[in-house]
C-alpha cells in the first residue's frame, strides 16, 4: 500500500512510531497522529458506512465537526462507540473497529439500502405512520437492524472519572491565535485566567500554518504557563454554557483503552464559574454540495490542509480543490506546497489580483467561474471529478485522487447560543455570528466572524484587556503583537448552496452526511410543508446525530431559504443546545457510581440488625430491616413468625427512620393547631396524639404523632417518606404565611433513635425493664408518654400503637440507640422478645386498617380513609377550605375498605382495580373501575392474604363480592369487601 506520509512537516514525532489495528488489520503511525491521520497515512480512506443508506464514507473533516469517521475504540469494559477518528489521539496498541457495516466495511450487504433510497425519502418515518395500522412494523423491523451507529458497551466501565469545580475571572474557550491572545492580555492585566481547548495541543492552526504564528504561540503559551493564576487545559471541551457563566467542560485524560498516567482518571467533568467568558471557538468550514460529494476521498479543503500541515499526511497526489471564498486558496497552497498538484476551482468569476498572486510559485492551476459538479469513485476512493461552470453546461472530467471543497466558514456560536444569545446573519460573510447576548460572554476571532489572522488576534487581545479591566484589573498588557502577513485584499464570498447536477450522473448531493440528508430532501420537505428550520430538522433529520449538523446546518437552511425565495436571515437557524460534542457518560457520573451513587442512611441500631440476620430494604435513602431470618426459614416464614409474635407475645421493631421535628416557641400551640386537621388545643403536657395533616387543597398530606413536652414545646413524628417535605411545609408557613407566629422548628430525625415494642406482653417487658416506673394502664395510659431512664440512659416511652396491639415506642438520643435496644433485648429474653421488620409491620397495620403510604397518595381526604370524624369543626387549619369543596365531600367518593379473597387463599395484588365484572380489558371493551387496592399483605390473624383499598361508596359495599383485576398479571380475583378494621375493631387490645 502506498504511504501518504510526507517525509517532513507536521507536529508528529517520526521517532516515535505507534502500532495499532483497524478492523483487525495492523497499521502504524506516529506520536502526534490522530486515528484519522494515521489511517490516511496508511492509505485507508474508507472509514465508515452512512447511517441510513450504508454508503461508503471517508473522513470529511479534521476535528470535532467530523460527521463520517465514527468508530468503536478500545477493548472490553473500556470500549466506546461512535468516537470521531479525528479526535482520537493515536496510542500504542489502539484497536479500532468500523461501525454500521456487515460483514465488512468494504462489502456491506446493508448497502442495499442505498439502492432502495427511493423508498427511504425525507420524512420516511413520518410517512410510514400514515399507512395502515400495522404496515409500519415491517420496514421498522428491517430499518432497526440496518440503520444505526455503533453498539453501546454493555460492560460496566471500571475507569475512574472525576468531578472538579473551579472559578476564574476570565475563561477563554479555544486556544487558537485569538484565544491565546485574549488569555495573555487578560493575564498580563492581572486577571485569573483559564484557557481550554478541545485538541491535544494548545495553539490551533497557527501551530502549523505559518512559522511566525508558531513562534509567537510558543512564546505566549510559555509566558501564560508561568502565571500562578493561569490554568491551561488541553483536550478539554467546553460543551455547555449555563446561567451565570457556568461553563461545563469535559477534560479527557486518555481515550478509551489508552494508558493513563498513574492515579489519573480517564476523564474529568469541570464546572467552571467565570466572571467573563471569551469565545475563541473559531469557525467550521462547510462543504460545497455536489453530486456524490460523500465519496471517500472527498473532504473539506481545510481538512486536507490540516492533514498535511499538522500530521504530514498528503490526502492525494492530484487534487481538485473547489472554493467560493478566499480561504480555499490558503488550503490549496498548503496542499501544493506539500507536494500535490492542485486544480483550484473558484466559483467566483473575478477575484482580487493579490489573491491570484498568492498562488505564485506553486503547483496550482486556477480556474475561475468553475466548480465541481460530481465526484466519481467508490470504496477505493475518488478517481475523477466532473467540473464545469455554475450553469451546469460545458462540463468535463478530470482525473484526480481527491476532491476537496470549501463552501465558506460558519463561526462556532454554540456556546453563545446555549445561553439564549441570538444568531445574526452577516450577508458579507454568508454566516451567522453572535448577536444579542444574555450572558457575560463575548466572541473573538473567527467565532465573531473576524477571519483575517491579524484582526482575529487583535480582537482577542482587546477583549482580554476589556474583560480584565471590567473586573478592576488595570495593569497594562501592552500592545498586541504584529504577526507580519498583512491581510490580503479580500474578495467577497459567493453564496453557493448547491451545485448543478450534470446530466446522466446518478447519486445524491449530500448536505448532512451523517444523516444522509441531501439537497433534494430539503426541497421535498419544503414542498411537503415543513417550512421552518426546526420542522426541517425533525422531518429530514438534517442537523441531528452526533455532529448536530456542524458542517450541514447552514447549507441546509440556505437551501430551505432558496426553495422559499426568502432570505437566510428570515429563515433563521435551529437552536444550538448543549452538549457541543458527544461526551463520555462516565464523566457525568464521575465518582458517583456503585456505593457512592447516593448517600446511605443507616439507623443507629443497624449493626445489631445485621447481627440478627436482617434483610434490608431501601426506603428512600434509609436501609431498614425488612425481616430477620432464622435457621432454614424462607422469607414468608420469617414474616409470618414475626407478625404472629406481635399478636401473641411481644416483638420489637426499629422505627428510627420516622421523621422527628422539634417545635418550640410561645405560639407553638397555635401553630400545631393550624397544622393538623384534628383538634390539638386540648393536648395536655405529657400526652401524645395522632395527627392528620392536610395540604391547602384539602387532601391528606401526612400523618404522625404529636407529643406535648411542655407549655411551648412539642415533639412531632412524621412518616419516614415525608419527613423532609413536612419540615419544608412547616417552614414555608412560618416564613411566608404566618411570619407573626413565634415558633421555631428543627429536624431531629437523625438525633433520635426509636423502637416500637408491641404485643400483649409488651407492658410486662417494659415494667420489668423499668421497675422504677408505673407502667400500668393507670401509670401510662394509651396515648400518654413519659421521660425516664433505662440502665442510666435517657429514654422517652410513648404509648402508641401502629399494629393495633398493646404497644409502646421507646425513643432515645441516637447515640444511646444500640445500648437501649440491647438492654430491652436482654430483659426481653424472659419474655421471648424477638425483633420484627418492616414486612411484618406492614402486614400488621393492614390487618388493623391503619393507613400508610399506599393510602396517603395525595388523592384521599380524611373521610375517604374513614377518619372524617377526626376533622375539627371549631378551628381553622390548613386544608379546611379545600375540604369544603363539593367534590371532596361527595358520599360516593372511593372510601377505605378491607378486602379479602373470596376463596380465602389467593394473593391480592396491590394496584389491582376493583370492578363488578369478572373479566376486564380485551379489545375495544371498557370496564368501569370502582376503586383500587392500595396495599396488600398476609394476615396472620386470618391466615390468608388481605388488603386495603378504596371503592366507591365504600361502607355501603361491605359484604359485596367484587373483582380485583390486575390485567398485567392476568389476575381477576373474586374478593369480598369488608370493614378496613380486620382485627379488633373496637381497639380493646391497644387501649387495654
Amino acid at each position: 500500500m502506498t504511504s501518504f506520509r510526507l517525509d517532513q512537516g507536521g507536529l508528529i514525532d517520526r521517532n516515535a512510531p505507534l502500532n495499532f489495528h483497524f478492523d483487525g488489520k495492523a497499521y502504524s503511525g506516529f506520536q502526534g497522529d490522530t486515528l484519522a491521520s494515521a489511517l490516511l497515512a496508511n492509505g485507508v480512506q474508507l472509514m465508515g458506512r452512512s447511517f441510513k443508506y450504508h454508503r461508503p464514507r471517508g473522513v470529511y473533516g479534521s476535528g470535532s465537526e467530523e460527521p463520517n469517521a465514527l468508530m468503536t475504540v478500545g477493548k472490553g469494559q473500556e470500549q466506546e462507540s461512535n468516537l470521531r477518528a479525528t479526535m482520537i489521539d493515536l496510542y500504542e496498541g489502539l484497536e479500532a473497529k468500523s461501525q454500521n457495516a456487515w460483514p465488512s466495511l468494504k462489502t456491506d450487504v446493508m448497502a442495499v439500502n442505498s439502492l432502495m433510497s427511493a423508498f427511504l425519502p425525507a420524512g420516511f418515518y413520518y410517512k410510514i405512520f400514515l399507512g395502515s395500522a400495522n404496515f409500519w412494523l415491517l420496514p421498522e423491523y428491517f430499518i432497526r437492524r440496518a440503520a444505526g451507529l455503533g453498539r453501546p458497551n454493555e460492560l460496566a466501565n471500571e475507569d475512574d472519572f472525576q468531578h472538579h469545580f473551579t472559578h476564574c475571572d476570565v475563561l477563554v474557550v479555544g486556544a487558537g491565535l485569538s484565544g491565546v491572545a485574549a488569555a495573555l492580555s487578560a493575564a498580563r492585566s492581572g486577571a485569573s485566567v483559564t484557557l481550554v481547548d478541545e485538541h491535544d495541543k494548545l495553539g490551533g492552526q497557527g501551530l502549523w500554518r505559518e512559522s511566525s504564528q508558531r513562534e509567537w504561540l510558543h512564546e505566549a503559551l510559555a509566558e501564560l504557563a508561568d502565571y500562578p493564576k493561569v490554568r491551561l487545559m488541553s483536550r478539554t471541551t467546553a460543551w455547555g454554557h449555563y446561567d451565570d457563566n457556568m461553563v461545563a467542560c469535559v477534560q479527557i485524560e486518555g481515550d478509551p483503552g489508552a494508558p493513563l498516567p498513574p492515579h489519573q482518571p480517564r476523564a474529568r467533568a469541570w464546572h467552571i464559574r467565570a466572571k467573563r467568558v471569551i469565545y475563541a471557538t473559531g469557525a467550521i468550514e462547510r462543504p460545497l454540495v455536489f453530486a456524490n460529494n460523500d465519496r471517500p476521498g472527498v473532504m473539506l479543503a481545510h481538512a486536507g490542509a490540516a492533514f498535511a500541515g499538522k500530521f504530514g499526511v498528503l490526502v492525494g497526489k492530484s487534487l481538485v480543490v473547489a472554493t467560493n471564498n478566499d480561504d480555499g486558496y490558503h488550503s490549496a497552497r498548503i496542499l501544493a506546497d506539500a507536494g500535490a498538484s492542485v486544480q483550484l476551482l473558484d466559483a467566483r468569476v473575478e477575484v482580487s489580483e493579490a489573491l491570484q498572486d498568492s498562488l505564485k510559485g506553486s503547483n496550482i492551476e486556477l480556474s475561475l467561474g468553475q466548480t465541481v459538479l460530481s465526484a466519481k469513485g467508490g470504496t477505493g476512493g475518488v478517481t475523477a471529478a466532473e467540473i464545469g461552470g455554475l450553469d451546469g453546461r460545458s462540463s468535463r472530467m478530470v482525473n484526480c485522487d481527491g476532491v476537496l471543497s470549501s463552501g465558506g466558514w460558519s463561526p462556532s456560536i454554540h456556546l453563545h447560543s446555549h445561553t439564549g444569545g441570538k444568531a445574526e446573519w452577516r450577508e458579507d460573510l454568508q454566516a451567522f455570528v453572535p448577536g444579542k447576548r444574555l450572558q457575560e460572554g463575548v466572541a473573538v476571532g473567527a467565532a465573531a466572524g473576524i477571519f483575517s489572522t491579524q484582526e482575529a488576534l487583535n480582537s482577542g487581545w482587546q477583549q482580554g484587556i476589556c474583560a480584565a479591566q471590567d473586573l478592576g484589573h488595570s495593569i497594562s498588557a501592552g500592545q498586541a503583537p504584529t504577526l507580519g502577513s498583512p491581510s490580503l485584499d479580500t474578495t467577497p464570498i459567493l453564496p453557493l448552496w448547491s451545485n448543478p447536477k450534470p446530466k446522466k450522473v446518478k447519486g445524491k448531493a449530500f448536505v448532512d452526511f451523517q444523516n444522509d440528508a441531501g439537497a433534494s430532501d430539503v426541497v421535498m420537505a419544503n414542498q411537503e410543508g415543513y417550512r421552518s428550520v426546526e420542522h426541517l430538522k425533525r422531518y429530514t433529520t438534517l442537523g441531528m446525530g452526533t455532529d448536530q449538523g456542524k458542517t450541514a446546518n447552514i447549507n441546509g437552511h440556505a437551501l430551505l431559504a432558496q426553495a422559499q425565495g426568502r432570505a437566510i436571515a428570515e429563515v433563521g437557524t435551529t437552536t444550538f443546545r448543549p452538549p457541543f460534542t458527544p461526551l463520555t457518560l462516565g464523566a457525568f457520573g464521575g465518582p458517583h457510581v456503585g456505593e457512592a451513587f447516593a448517600p446511605v442512611r443507616r439507623t443507629p441500631m443497624h449493626a445489631l440488625h445485621e447481627a440478627s440476620g436482617a434483610s434490608f430494604v431501601e426506603a428512600g435513602m434509609w436501609k431498614r430491616a425488612e425481616w430477620y431470618s432464622r435457621d432454614g426459614e424462607d422469607m414468608w416464614a420469617s414474616i409470618k413468625r414475626e407478625a404472629l409474635h406481635v399478636r401473641r407475645a411481644v416483638a420489637m421493631c426499629d422505627v428510627s427512620t420516622l421523621g422527628k421535628i422539634d417545635v418550640q416557641g410561645p405560639d407553638a400551640q397555635e401553630f400545631i393547631q393550624r397544622l393538623y386537621c384534628n383538634g390539638m388545643k386540648t393536648l395536655a403536657i405529657g400526652k401524645v396524639r395522632y395527627g392528620l395533616m392536610l395540604r391547602d387543597d384539602g387532601f391528606v398530606f401526612d400523618d404522625g404523632t404529636v407529643a406535648r413536652l411542655d407549655e411551648n414545646h412539642y415533639y412531632m413524628t412524621t412518616t419516614t417518606a415525608n419527613a423532609a417535605a413536612v419540615l419544608a411545609h412547616m417552614e414555608y408557613h412560618l416564613d411566608v404565611v404566618w411570619p407573626e407566629l413565634k415558633v421555631r422548628v428543627a429536624s431531629i430525625t437523625d438525633q433520635w433513635a426509636g423502637m416500637a415494642v408491641a404485643g400483649p406482653r409488651s407492658r410486662d417487658l417494659l415494667q420489668a425493664a423499668l421497675p422504677h416506673v408505673d407502667m400500668s394502664n393507670h401509670g401510662l395510659p394509651f396515648m400518654g408518654f413519659l421521660d425516664t431512664e433505662l440502665a442510666g440512659l435517657p429514654i422517652r416511652v410513648l404509648r402508641i400503637s401502629f399494629s393495633g396491639e398493646l404497644a409502646y415506642e421507646v425513643h432515645t438520643p441516637a447515640r444511646f440507640g444500640p445500648q437501649v435496644w440491647q438492654a430491652l433485648s436482654e430483659t426481653g429474653k424472659d419474655f421471648d422478645l424477638m425483633p420484627y421488620g418492616t414486612e411484618a409491620l406492614g402486614a400488621l397495620r393492614i390487618e388493623k386498617g391503619h393507613v400508610a403510604g399506599g393510602e396517603l397518595d395525595g388523592r384521599t381526604t380524611p373521610a375517604d380513609m374513614g377518619l372524617g370524624k377526626m376533622v375539627a369543626k371549631k378551628k381553622d387549619f390548613i386544608g379546611r377550605l379545600g375540604l369544603l369543596r363539593e367534590g371532596l365531600s361527595r358520599e360516593d367518593r372511593p372510601r377505605l375498605v378491607g378486602v379479602i379473597p373470596a376463596d380465602g387463599r389467593s394473593r391480592i395484588i396491590a394496584g389491582s382495580q376493583l370492578t363488578e365484572e369478572g373479566q376486564v380489558g380485551g379489545f375495544g371493551k371498557v370496564t368501569k373501575s370502582l376503586g383500587w387496592i392500595s396495599s396488600a399483605h398476609f394476615s396472620v390473624e386470618h391466615d390468608c392474604f388481605v388488603a386495603l383499598g378504596f371503592v366507591e361508596s365504600g361502607a355501603l359495599r361491605q359484604g359485596q363480592t367484587l373483582f380485583a383485576a390486575s390485567p398485567l398479571d392476568d389476575q381477576h380475583l373474586p374478593v369480598n369487601i369488608v370493614s378496613p378494621h380486620m382485627i379488633d375493631p373496637q381497639g380493646e387490645r391497644q387501649n387495654g
Binding site: D243, D244, L881
Partner: protein, 99 residues
C-alpha cells in the same frame, strides 16, 4: 446554573435551593369559622392560580441545603437574571418599567 443571592448567606449555587413559586400570591386570612364566598374564591386562587409572565417574576425560594430560610427574589424568567433579593417579610424594591 444560576447563582442565587440568599439574603442571609450571599450568592450560592442554584442546586442548594428549592423553587417555591409566585411571591405575589397571598394566602387569605381563613381564620373566620364562617367562610364567605369571597374567602373561598381567594383561597382557591391562592391554591390553584399562578401567573405565567414573560419577563420579571417575583418568587419565593428556599435555601434548602443552606440556612433553610425562605426569601423573595425578582428574576427574569427569560434570561434568568436576578435583580433583587430580600428576606421573606420584606418588600422587593420597585423598578421602573421595562428595565
Amino acid at each position: 446554573m444560576m447563582l442565587i443571592p440568599c439574603p442571609w448567606c450571599g450568592e450560592r449555587s442554584e442546586n442548594e435551593f428549592t423553587y417555591i413559586g409566585d411571591a405575589r400570591r397571598q394566602r387569605p386570612d381563613t381564620s373566620a369559622l364562617d367562610v364567605s364566598d369571597e374567602t373561598l374564591k381567594a383561597h382557591s386562587d391562592y391554591v390553584y392560580l399562578r401567573d405565567n409572565p414573560k419577563g420579571w417574576h417575583q418568587e419565593y425560594w428556599q435555601h434548602t441545603s443552606g440556612c433553610r430560610a425562605h426569601f423573595k427574589v425578582e428574576r427574569n424568567v427569560v434570561d434568568h437574571r436576578i435583580r433583587a433579593s430580600v428576606k421573606a417579610d420584606e418588600e422587593l424594591p420597585s423598578f421602573p418599567e421595562g428595565r
